[in-house]
């Protein structure tokens, strides 16, 4: 099955053809996402699963904004399992983060 790809549908709907807003908003996402991803990696590296769940919670909004519906579902399940000290979905989640990272370099 092909990997789900991010899209700008939500951002376009929100902007109502306001190109200045789109650019500004994408600038915010481009600045904020790498910091959040690194924070996620650091929290997981420390095995601080509560802090990891918190940053996954925040990251899942980015998945939503970028139209990653399946990715969002993975994030929801992952956040829950982290709260119980499990991280089985970490590889799936990292793949999603990498897809976003590559995507935002192209927009």
């Amino acid at each position: 099955m092909a990997t789900e790809q991010p899209n700008l549908k939500y951002i376009k709907e929100l902007s109502g053809n306001d190109r200045a807003f789109e650019q500004k908003f994408l600038g915010i996402v481009k600045g904020e996402f790498p910091v959040e991803k690194q924070h996620y990696i650091d929290c997981l590296g420390r095995k601080d699963f509560i802090a990891t769940a918190e940053i996954v919670h925040k990251l899942k909004h980015k998945l939503n904004i970028l139209g990653l519906e399946n990715g969002y579902r993975v994030a929801v399940a992952y956040e829950e399992e982290l709260k119980y000290g499990s991280h089985k979905l970490k590889d799936d989640f990292l793949k999603i983060l990498n897809v976003i990272e590559n995507y935002i370099l192209t927009v």
Partner: protein, 237 residues
């Protein structure tokens, strides 16, 4: 309507700011990534509505609402649908938006805030029909205006967005603030002795250390209010 946006995520703040910008009646006066900074702001400035993320580091949205002395209307914003029931336990929380917020849903939320503010001002108008000179106060309970005589009121307690008025025969819970009712009470018999209590000091039975006994209620006296209370007493030295 003046609003602030409180969310530790910059992208989320940008979305709400854009949604507000598209509604002519809305004015974003400030944005905060920290709940603490927003509380400091609200202790100095008045706004009509706060768009508030529930999940913030160290301080969640419900803590935020409980901390505010006179909270404006609050619209909660979250990725979790599960907290909606808890949200509606707070009178000041008008709506609950799940991310990502759509334009249509946001517009409905603004309508809810406008309705809530309009309802509040209607209630305040009725409640201002108070007559200090005639020694009575009308309170609004379930759309009935109930007359209370000042000399029957024992004490008033703040309970979040409500006040509890205890009289010799009954207790009433009214959606209002201690600050507002204080303005309606005669100063020669009512005194605030704690941030959560105003008492009718003619009803005091005794005072012991930092508490007052009124009927069967023991009311705390705050250190800062004690000198004022002592000045009101006809004290035999």
């Amino acid at each position: 309507m003046k609003c602030i946006i409180v969310d530790d995520e910059a992208a989320a703040r940008a979305i709400v700011a854009k949604l507000c910008k598209d509604i002519s009646s809305m004015e974003v006066v400030d944005e905060f990534s920290s709940a603490i900074e927003a509380i400091k702001f609200l202790n100095k400035e008045m706004v009509d509505v706060v768009f508030l993320d529930i999940h913030m580091p160290g301080f969640n949205g419900f803590d935020f609402v409980e901390t505010l002395k006179a909270p404006p209307k609050v619209v909660l914003i979250t990725s979790d649908k599960d907290l909606a029931l808890q949200a509606y336990e707070y009178d000041t929380i008008v709506d609950y938006l799940v991310k990502p917020i759509t334009k249509d849903r946001f517009s409905k939320s603004i309508q809810k805030v406008e309705t809530a503010i309009a309802n509040d001002s209607a209630v305040n108008k009725i409640e201002s029909n108070t007559s200090i000179n005639s020694g009575e106060l009308f309170i609004n309970i379930d759309r009935r205006l109930i007359k209370l005589k000042f000399n029957e009121i024992l004490l008033i307690q703040a309970l979040g967005d409500y006040i509890k008025i205890k009289t010799e025969s009954k207790e009433y819970k009214v959606h209002n603030t201690l600050k507002k009712i204080k303005e309606k009470l005669p100063k020669d018999i009512f005194l605030q002795i704690h941030r959560s209590y105003i008492i009718n000091f003619t009803k005091i039975i005794d005072i012991e250390d930092n508490s007052v006994l009124i009927e069967k209620s023991v009311i705390p006296i705050s250190r800062s209010n004690k000198p004022e209370l002592m000045r009101h007493l006809n004290l035999l030295k």
